[in-house]
């Protein structure tokens, strides 16, 4: 490998893993997607499983995840990522399979697939980005939008009498016997990024055991959809989103607790 002469006497402390392509992210400034993509692909790189990993991208902001993740990938129909992942994993039982989904995809149109995939204990990892809004289509209400939250389809704020409650689907998933490891994390600080990365590592290690579904919710921001600056979005998220969606493990395998 050719060495940059300017860096020859420097210690390499950070590099982009080969599991990420050179394509620049299309995500808005401050968006959580880029961070989650990066740490997910870092774990794949660190585990040396790039050639054994197949991912499923959803419909939503991360519809182009396969432009950035340098592993074999399939693009699913809206809400069907976990069904597609089931099909892949069933015929490739020794590969690492993950579905990467947003809240509209996973907790609205794909609720049935989500529940049944986890209930069957499919040996896949589901990464669930919860930012409480439909980002890709321009900021409409998501099943996880908080009460009172203003979106383009709740212009007067989400009202429970008309729109029901924000869905804590991860709590629901944790109740299912097919779930092996369920956790809720975030990526808005260095500490939370490290914790989320550890959770992803755990989940992919557990996948080898074939003991059930691993499910990681990442409480996320959406500066554009929320109409805030990135720092305002993180502050708002911490105060409001994390208050309703508290971080922490919801189900930890007995043998690892």
């Amino acid at each position: 490998m050719e060495t940059n002469p300017l860096m020859s006497d420097m210690e390499l402390v950070y590099r982009k893993p080969s599991t990420l392509t050179d394509t620049p992210f299309h995500y808005c400034p401050g968006c959580s997607h880029g961070v989650v993509h990066k740490i997910l692909m870092e774990v794949v790189d660190e585990m040396g499983i790039q050639g054994q990993t197949v991912g499923v991208a959803p419909v939503g902001c991360s519809v182009f995840a396969y432009n950035y993740m340098n592993v074999d990938m399939q693009e699913a129909a809206h809400g069907r990522a976990s069904a597609v992942a089931t099909g892949i994993r069933r015929v490739l039982p020794d590969k690492y399979v993950f579905a990467y989904q947003g809240d509209g995809d996973l907790a609205a149109i794909g609720t049935g697939e989500t529940i049944h995939t986890v209930n069957r204990g499919e040996n896949i990892l589901v990464v669930f980005i919860n930012n409480g809004i439909y980002g890709m289509t321009g900021g409409q209400m998501a099943p996880t939008s908080l009460l009172g939250m203003v979106t383009s389809t709740t212009p007067y704020g989400r009202e429970q009498s008309a729109m029901g409650f924000p869905l804590r689907i991860t709590d629901l998933v944790a109740q299912l016997p097919g779930a092996y490891y369920v956790t809720r994390q975030a990526v808005h600080t260095a500490t939370t990024v490290r914790k989320t990365k550890k959770a992803i590592r755990n989940a992919l290690e557990y996948q080898k055991l074939k003991k059930g579904t691993c499910f990681i919710e990442v409480v996320s921001n959406c500066p554009s959809g929320w109409k805030m600056t990135p720092t305002e979005a993180n502050d708002w998220m911490e105060k409001n989103m994390i208050a309703y969606y508290p971080l922490g493990d919801l189900k930890v395998p007995k043998e690892h607790s």
């Binding site: 399939q74 597609v84 892949i88 069933r90 490739l92 697939e113």
Partner: protein
């Protein structure tokens, strides 16, 4: 060329199809129970642990077709089956699979509709099967069996076509063919080769680009290119046209019918010939690609055409396009799960014969 067992067996259409699928090297089946095709799922769940393939009862037809998507994208020989309302739910997935160019076999054991309809046999999904069915410009290749033997054979043909053209293929049967028992010489196991699928997502190979299965082409220029590729594929598939012709050489009235309606029409043909009416029958076996040219040529030598279907008149539109106004085309159909009797068809033939004075005295 399909190689068959020497000894025929007596089997239900649905079971013959399931057994044929295993012998064709089925690697995964995803389905959901619905009458009148649940025997396929049942048969396969019995055999799966003994014969080493994946079978999964999904939570819905929506999930089932998307599991098929995933498994097909991962390179497996994969199949699903359902009946009309379930096939409607699968249309989203079929459109995505056509666009992502994924091979799979989909069986529709057609029942009467619309809506929840009836569980009795029907051909009312012809439009849905042959014209695309879901959104966007695409077609499935469609095979229409008319016997239990063909139910089994077309599973082999279906998988072969799916792999060759990288497209979902549909067998359009009906509730009667699925449920009735007939003698069938099953295709021999291992006689259908596996084609390499270097595009499948089985894990990125070192030194190679990753494989991506997608139906998203956001740039219209690219989306148009993909559409052109699909249209080119459908043009290439025209050489797969299959049909069966009976007594067309001297026919003055040409019957056109597929599937079960063709069997009924064949009986009607014999009865009409006994009464001195020169009737021929053209049975399209591939509904897409449709044997338009064959019909166009045959029609030159007949006085009139009668299309018989178990629906309100769907294939008759394709026949009229082929005939292009050169001869009268009439239609006899029953709907909602009712099956026309040979007598009813003969009655129609006699009316036409009278109009055209083609009765040979």
């Amino acid at each position: 060329m399909i190689v068959h067992d020497d000894e025929p067996r007596l089997m239900k259409g649905n079971e013959a199809m399931a057994e044929a699928a295993i012998r064709a090297g089925l690697q995964a089946y995803f389905g959901y129970p619905i009458t009148p095709q649940s025997e396929v799922l049942e048969y396969l769940t019995v055999e799966a642990p003994k014969r080493n393939f994946v079978v999964l009862q999904a939570e819905s037809e929506l999930a089932a077709i998307n599991m098929v998507f995933g498994a097909a994208g991962a390179g497996a020989r994969v199949m699903t089956s359902s009946s009309s309302p379930g096939i409607s739910l699968m249309q989203e997935g079929l459109s995505y699979m056509a666009s992502a160019q994924l091979p799979a076999l989909v069986v529709n054991v057609n029942r009467g509709g619309p809506g929840l309809g009836t569980i009795q046999p029907s051909q009312s999904d012809y439009f849905q099967a042959t014209k695309g069915g879901g959104h966007g410009d695409y077609h499935l290749l469609v095979l229409a069996p008319s016997s239990v033997q063909e139910m089994a054979d077309f599973v082999f043909d279906g998988f072969r076509l799916a792999d060759e053209y990288r497209t979902p293929v549909m067998i359009l049967a009906d509730g009667a063919l699925g449920q009735m028992m007939e003698k069938v010489a099953l295709p021999k196991a291992g006689s259908l080769p596996f084609t390499p699928k270097p595009w499948a997502t089985t894990g990125k190979l070192e030194g190679h680009d990753r494989n991506i299965i997608t139906s998203l082409f956001i740039q219209p220029e690219k989306m148009e290119q993909v559409n052109l590729q699909l249209q080119e594929k459908y043009k290439r598939a025209q050489k797969e046209v299959r049909f069966e012709a009976f007594h067309v050489e001297d026919a003055e009235i040409l019957l056109v019918a597929f599937g079960l309606a063709a069997r009924i029409s064949q009986k009607a043909l014999e009865m009409a010939r006994e009464r001195g009416i020169k009737v021929g029958l053209l049975r399209p076996i591939t509904l897409y690609p449709f044997p338009s040219k064959v019909i166009s040529n045959l029609v030159e030598n007949v006085a009139s055409v009668l299309v018989v279907e178990m629906n309100a008149g769907q294939m008759v539109e394709d026949v009229r396009l082929a005939v292009n106004g050169r001869r009268p085309v009439s239609f006899k159909g029953r709907m909602g799960g009712m099956i026309p009797s040979p007598d009813e068809v003969v009655h129609e033939i006699e009316l036409i014969a009278e109009q055209h004075r083609v009765v040979q005295v």
